[in-house]
Each structure stands twice: as C-alpha cells, then as structure tokens.
C-alpha cells in the first residue's frame, strides 16, 4: 500500500516554528540558532510581551534578507522605552529614535540620505505601536505612503497606549475597557463604530504592498516580510501583538490570544498589492469570539450578569463580517 505524502510532511506541518524533520529551507528564521536576535535579552518589556516578540520576529527576517544592511527608525512608545532606557539598548541594529509622531518622515529622510551617499542597498524600516501609527504619526505615515518613499513601515498593534497607562487609541476595539474608556453607562468600554483600520487605509493609498500578520504564525509573518522586502517603495506591515498588562491577560497566554484573534475572525490575515487584496490566510479551526475575549480582563464586563448581550453580539458581528469580507473560511466549512 502506498501513501500520498504531503511534501515536507511532519506531525506539525508548518504549524510550529521549525521541526527537526524539515529542511532548513522551509522552517522559519526564528527557529534557527543563528538568527540575528536583533532585539537582544535584557530589555525591560513585561513578562510575555507580544510586541518584543513581534519586533524580533520581523527585524530578524529583515536582517537575514538584507544581509544585515538595515536602518531602523522607531517612534515613541513601549517598544522604544523598554528597549532603550538610557544608557542601555537592546538593539543589535542601527536604530534611531526622534519623536512620537514623526517616525515615517524621519525614515524618509534616512532613506534620502542613504541614497545621496550611494547606499541604496540598505533597507530602511520605520516602526511603532498603534498609538504612533494610527493616531499621532498618521499624517506623516500617509505622506510617506503617497510619496511612495522606499520605506517598510511596521506597526505593532497592541490596541491602546500601553506605555503611558493603557489609554484608548484609534486601534482600540469596541467594548474594550481602557483608562479612557471606563466601565460606565449602558454600553461600558470603547464605543462601536469608531477607530481606524490602517491596513485598509494603506491599501487605499495604492502602495505596493500591505499585509497583516500575527506573532501566532511566524512562518506567515516571515513570508510577508520577505514579500515586502522583494519590493521597492512604500510598504506597510501590521502585526497584532497582545499585551498582558493592557489587556489583563496572563503572560503565558500571549501567543494563544494572538491565535484566537485570528481563529475567531476578529483579526483577519490578508495581503494586498496596489490596492487589491491578493491573498488571505484561512481560519483553521473557527472559534466564537468568547474564547478570545474571556481570557482578557478588559472584556470581563461582557460576561457579567446583566451585561447587554448586544455588546457581545456586536463583537461577534465584527468577526463574522471579516470572515465574509475576506473569505476566511474554506468552502463548505461555514
């Protein structure tokens, strides 16, 4: 009896970061002992920080593909503060911090300077959290997009201003409790119908490449970095990074939450080129949003006695709309 084997089959397929049974060409850079560790140990991120992880995953892949020729410009925020408290830094890359709102503009300037010096083979990265990307630096970001500057911008989205004490941002989801969206009134937490979807706004600029990624799927994340690196001009990568402190979740559940955000449909994984969606990463085992929300204290009010069930239903409706819009389920798997 003969068996049709999937190429590179092993018990975990491509679900784990690596596997001793798989060739080095198909496993993630993160799974290899010679990865760059662009963000090294000793940083002051909280236990189980998703952002520290997302940044290392993305920049390590950039370093591999650029053969370490990379400049990083960082906006103000957690990532800047916990990696670089004077006089130490955790970065193993050329790294520059200026202001909260100007990282895309500074990156444009760095790229122009490199060009003037004939160093166009150096990759320029601008990066920040959702605060600097969605709110404070948004004007600079939009400008960088419309000028099509040769910069890869990476947003690490933890859905609020965590560094300053968990205030609402334009990326905070409806119903989430933050310091500025307290539990009061008939619909406690953040409002429905507000906030910005920056991946879609980036798509609307018609730039070469836009993608969403998650720290729960490192192979997908690295493939998207690689795709972005294969192009010139303005590119945008949006990485979902759970925050144990701001979300009120257990540090050990960071990857699990990132995974449930995808599997529930709340955080769709897609990529697009020049304003057109070119691919989605399908949901593997669909879960109701409850499974994702219940692990986070910022949502516990949704499950308290007397809570308005419309609120929870509203969050589920967002997930369902994503599933439909992006086609996140396989056919016949509805």
């Amino acid at each position: 009896m003969s068996t049709e084997l999937k190429p590179g089959f092993c018990q975990t397929g491509d679900l784990t970061a690596g596997n001793r049974l798989q060739s080095i060409d198909v496993v993630s850079v993160q799974s290899q002992e010679d990865r760059a560790n662009s963000l090294t140990s000793g940083h002051r991120a909280c236990q189980g920080c998703g952002e520290a992880l997302g940044a290392r995953m993305a920049i390590d892949k950039v370093m591999e593909l650029s053969k370490n020729k990379v400049h990083v410009v960082n906006a103000t925020g957690c990532l800047e503060v916990f990696t670089t408290p004077f006089p130490e830094t955790s970065w193993n890359v050329p790294w520059l911090h200026s202001l909260f709102g100007n990282a895309p503009a500074v990156a444009t300037g760095v790229q122009a300077a490199l060009k003037a010096k004939g160093m166009e083979d150096v990759t320029v990265i601008a990066q920040g959290g959702d605060g600097s990307t969605v709110d404070i630096g948004f004007g600079c970001l939009s400008g960088m997009f419309e000028r099509n500057d040769d910069v890869l911008y990476i947003c690490y989205d933890n859905e609020a201003y965590m560094n300053t004490g968990v205030q609402r941002s334009g990326a905070t989801p409806p119903t989430a409790r933050t310091a500025t969206t307290p539990l009061s009134g008939p619909h406690p937490g953040n409002n429905f119908g507000q906030g910005k979807n920056v991946p879609k706004i980036a798509m609307a600029h018609g730039i070469g490449y836009v993608a969403t990624a998650t720290i729960a799927n490192v192979r997908d994340l690295e493939a998207k970095v690689a795709k972005a690196m294969s192009m010139k001009g303005a590119r945008y990568l949006h990485i979902h990074v759970p925050c144990p402190l701001g979300w009120g979740s257990l540090p050990k559940d960071t990857i699990k939450l990132a995974r449930l955000a995808v599997e529930s449909g709340l955080y769709p994984l897609f990529e697009g080129e020049h304003g057109v969606i070119t691919g989605v990463t399908k949901i593997r085992k669909k879960v109701p949003v409850d499974e994702y929300l219940k692990l986070q204290r910022r949502f516990t009010h949704l499950f308290k006695k007397g809570a308005d069930t419309d609120d929870l239903a509203g969050v589920q409706a967002i997930a369902d709309a994503h599933i439909k819009y992006y086609g996140l389920l396989d056919d016949g798997d509805k």
Binding site: Q11, T12, T16, A17, R56, P87, E88
Partner: protein
C-alpha cells in the same frame, strides 16, 4: 559604563545584556521528559516514542535496536500483540491512534531482510536453564545471553514458539517470521533443545550445572466441562486442536458442522481455523453477550466477516443426535448470565471447548518451597523468583494477564533480576517519569491526519487458505504513520519554545542537541511551556 555618556547619543549595541532580567521571575520553566501513555501501556515496556522518533528520521536500524532493548521479537509482536499501546495513544483522542504495531512489524521485517544483529557482553561464566521456548522463555534467553550468560532453552514440543506456534494460527503469524526472528537469537549463542520434557526440575538444574533457572512453561492444558452427550458429537479441546494443526501426522479431523464453546481469543482462533479447514457451518457459542467477550473486538469482527455465526447469551445444555440444545441466557444486574428457561437447537457434529487453560506443574515433582495454586499457577515474588532459590518464573504460568507481550515483559524483567542474582547484586528498576497525559499537550500544533490502515487479504483467500490476513505497510507509509506520533512528553525539536520567548532565554543547541534555558534573562512568563506541543516543559514556583 555609560552614565558618563552625554544624553541622546549613540549607545553600545546590545548593551542591555547587562540587565539580568532573570530576577523578575517568580516561576521557572523546566525542560523535562515525561512518560508517554503508549510506553506505560506496553507490557514489554518498549520505549515506543523513541523508536517512532528514529523511524520518523528514517533511522530504521537504530529504531529496531531501540525496540530490542526491551523486546527481541518485533516482527512477531507487530503481528500478534494486541497493542494496548494504541489504546493508550493520545492521538486516539484527536482522530485515531498511531498504528504502532504496523510500524513495529515493518521494523522487525527490515531487520530480518537486512540481517541486523545485536552485540552481546563478554562471557560471565554463568549458565542459566530456561524451561519453555515460548515468548517468555525466548525473551529471558535473549536478554540473559546479551548480558553474557550461557543460556540453554529446553521445550517438550518439537519446535520453537510455545503458544506462538502451538496456539496462534499461521494466518496471524506465518511460521517463517517466527523461525527467522528466533534464528537471530540462536545465532547470538542461545542453545535450544526440543522434544525435551523436564519432569524433575531440581535434578535437571543440578545435573546440568546451571546457576539459575527461568521457567515459562505456559498453560497448555484445556479446561473441560461435563455436558450430556449421546456420542453423536465429537469433543475436542481447543488448545489441543490448535497445537495439532502444527503437527503434520496429527492433523485434526473436524466434521462439517463445527461449534466452538467459549468467548476468548482462543475461541476466535478456533472458529477462524475451522472456517479455513472447510467446515460448512461454524458457530461460536458464548454465555454472555458480545460486549462482555474477553476476545478482542477486532478479532470478533474479523471472524464475523469470515461467516462465523455468533450465538451470544447461550450455553450448551445437551448434545444429542448431532444437535446441540442451547440454553438461552440473560444477564442479571451484576452482568452475569442466568438461564431464561427457554432453549433452541443448532446442528453440530464437532464441538471445540475453548474454556480457558490450566498449567501442568508436574516439573516441580522433586522441588521444595514452590507455591503452586490448584490450577497449576505458580506464585513468584516481586523479583519473579519462585519459592525455590535461583528458580524464576514468568509468562502464563504465573498470575497475570495471559498475553504474548506480557510474557515477553516477564522474560525481560526476570532476566534483569536473574543477572543481579548471578552477580550477587541488587537490581532496582529506574524510577518512572510522570505521565504525559493528553492535557499536557498543546494539540493546536498537530496536523489532523488519519491513520493509514494495513492492507487486508481478500475474503475468498481468508476463508479458504491460511495465508496471512494483514499485510505490510510499505516504507513510505510506515514512515508517514510514524510521523503521526505526537512524541508525548519528549521534545521533538519543533523550536516553538525557542521562537516564542520574548527574552531570547531559550538557547538552541543545534539540531539533535535540544535546548537549554538561560535563567539569567528568563522572566518566567511561561509562554514556552504553554506553546510546547508535546508537554516536555513545565512551570515550577521559584524559591524566593
């Protein structure tokens, strides 16, 4: 350094390494091995996860050697073991278990094809008598020989195998497989003497100059029952019937209408053999219902496929004029059968009794101190030693489950105690790791993949010949099936812990060399433990 630096200036690359964040920790991750349920369930104590892991890498010879640490007969076991390992397999809780037995068979057959051998230790000058060339005796002989002792195996039958040959039909275990696998053990230096019955054990030990003895004489005496019979129905004992099948000049003569009385695996072997011998009708009669049959259900299924009639909840009341009067039973509240008073009749010219087996303990004639129960079962201590110094026993003759693999396990364990006895040492088994139960796994990371079944012989051949019913897996399929193993409790290097640590506190030592934890920087978030697919990490409170 550095507080002397002006503000807003270039900082030393990677200088945060000075900040040892390990002191934030209140819990620490531990990297460990747990004991997988397949291993726990295996009566021979095989390290199944280890040899499946080697098979995944295509290292078949090393995989076979790993089996041989515990069991010298993988080609045999891949065919006849009831694989309790697969009942324990954690994959069973996802889709279906790994087909462990089929991979074991593949490895055993590869060894026979390639003449793989196991080296043995230097001669110790000690000699051991093994009585019984069945699975228990073969196992003990192999292990003792490997340890450097001189081993002689004697058996009253004309050929090797005990119940493997004289109890298990050849459509389940082809004899050339058995003979080839034992030939390997003979080549290692074990001496076999057949047609040799021991009636006075103490004298045989003394005359042969043996330093110890291991007995595994099995249970070959069929249990009988008194049922009125006018002589029109021929009665044969199941164990004798199956044994005679192997002896050319004693081939049993069955009638055309055969009934088998009993519900164990021996009864199933009898009905299926009767089908193959050309009986027109074969009836299996059992006093309880199918659910309560001691026989394994997959064997019952195979018998039913071969046109055996199952008469459950029936006992034989009387045999007269070529007919059996069956008492119709029902189960009482305790699950035991009681007569309903109603009867029915079926036709039969031959009835085989498969009602259990007793031990013929007559070899103890000249021995003292041996504790034998009334059915011949012999008691041993926790080191497998009987009441007589230096005489050990195992297999069907001691109180335990009567399976081939149990006997092989006894042979292995007894060999370790005998070795210690011969050297004047004490043997203490290694402490077992804690169980890698299903709740320790993160099954998100495993692909959903169904078991690939072995090919089955077509029904026509199954009912007319003694050809082997189950076929081989080819190499690609065996490897695929091995790769379904989730490696419960034992790291298989998926690199998740290394990848998900936000503090780079897991050190990857290179493929094949596993990982270390750098507690200088580990903040104790526990993500590595949570995202470990196979449960080979745990969190432990830090001593504060």
């Amino acid at each position: 350094m550095a507080l002397t630096l002006p503000y807003a200036i270039t900082l030393e690359v990677g200088s945060s390494l000075e900040n040892k964040t390990g002191d934030w920790r209140t819990e620490r991750p531990i990297y460990l091995d747990r004991l997988p349920p397949c291993n726990i369930e295996c009566p021979a104590g095989e390290n199944i996860q280890a040899w499946l892991g080697l098979s995944q890498e295509g290292k078949y010879q090393e995989a076979w050697e790993e089996i041989l640490h515990n069991n010298p007969l993988p080609a045999v076991h891949g065919r006849v073991c009831y694989h309790p390992c697969e009942d324990g397999c954690n994959r069973k809780q996802m889709e279906n278990p790994v087909s462990i037995h089929a991979i074991e068979r593949f490895l055993g057959d590869e060894a026979l094809k390639n003449n793989w051998t196991i080296p043995k230790a230097a001669d110790t000058g000690k000699s051991v008598l093994v009585v019984g060339a069945g699975p228990g005796g073969i196992s003990a002989a192999y292990h003792l020989c490997k340890m450097g002792h001189k081993v002689t195996v004697v058996d009253s039958k004309p050929a090797v195998g005990g119940m493997l040959r004289y109890g298990i039909p050849s459509y389940r275990l082809p004899r050339d497989v058995l003979d080839s696998e034992v030939a390997h053990i003979e080549k290692m230096g074990v001496t076999f003497k057949f047609n040799t019955r021991i009636d006075n054990l103490a004298a045989s030990i003394k005359d042969g100059g043996y330093d110890a003895a291991f007995l595994a004489i099995g249970a070959h005496v069929g249990r009988s029952v008194e049922i009125p019979n006018d002589g029109s129905v021929k009665i044969i004992e199941a164990v004798k019937f199956l044994s005679d099948m192997e002896t050319e000049d004693k081939k049993p003569e069955l009638g055309k209408k055969v009934a088998v009385y009993g519900g164990g695996n021996t009864a199933i072997d009898c009905v299926r053999t009767a089908v193959r011998l050309g009986a027109d009708s074969v009836n299996l009669i059992y006093r309880r219902d199918r659910k309560n049959m001691p026989a394994h259900d997959f064997e019952v299924v195979e018998a039913l496929e071969e046109n055996v009639n199952l008469n459950e909840l029936r006992t034989i009341k009387e045999m007269k004029d070529g007919k059996l009067t069956l008492d119709i039973m029902e189960l009482n509240a305790e699950g035991w059968p009681e007569s309903t008073g109603k009867t029915e009749t079926i036709e039969a010219d031959t009835v085989l009794y498969a009602l259990g087996q007793l031990v013929d303990a007559s070899l103890f004639n000249d021995c003292t101190g041996i504790d034998v129960e009334k059915d011949g079962v012999t008691n041993v201590n926790d080191q497998f030693m009987t009441g007589m110094d230096g005489v050990f026993a195992g297999g069907d003759m001691i109180p335990s489950a009567r399976t081939v693999t149990t006997a092989v396990g006894h042979g292995k364990k007894a060999a370790r105690y005998i070795n210690a006895y011969l050297k004047g040492e004490a043997y203490t088994p290694a402490e077992k790791h804690e169980t890698a139960s299903f709740d320790k796994l993160n099954t998100w990371y495993y692909e959903d993949e169904d078991m690939r079944e072995q090919p089955v012989l077509d029904l026509k051949k199954r009912t007319t010949t003694f050809e082997e019913v189950l076929g081989d897996l080819d190499e690609a399929t065996a490897k695929y099936e091995a790769t379904r193993c989730m490696s419960c409790g034992n790291c298989f290097e998926c690199d998740n812990c290394y990848t998900v640590c936000p503090d780079n506190a897991i050190i990857k030592l290179g493929r094949g060399n596993r990982f270390e934890i750098n507690y200088d920087y580990c903040k104790g978030c526990g993500m590595c433990v949570e995202e470990c697919p196979c449960g080979s990490m745990l969190m432990e409170p830090e001593e504060l």
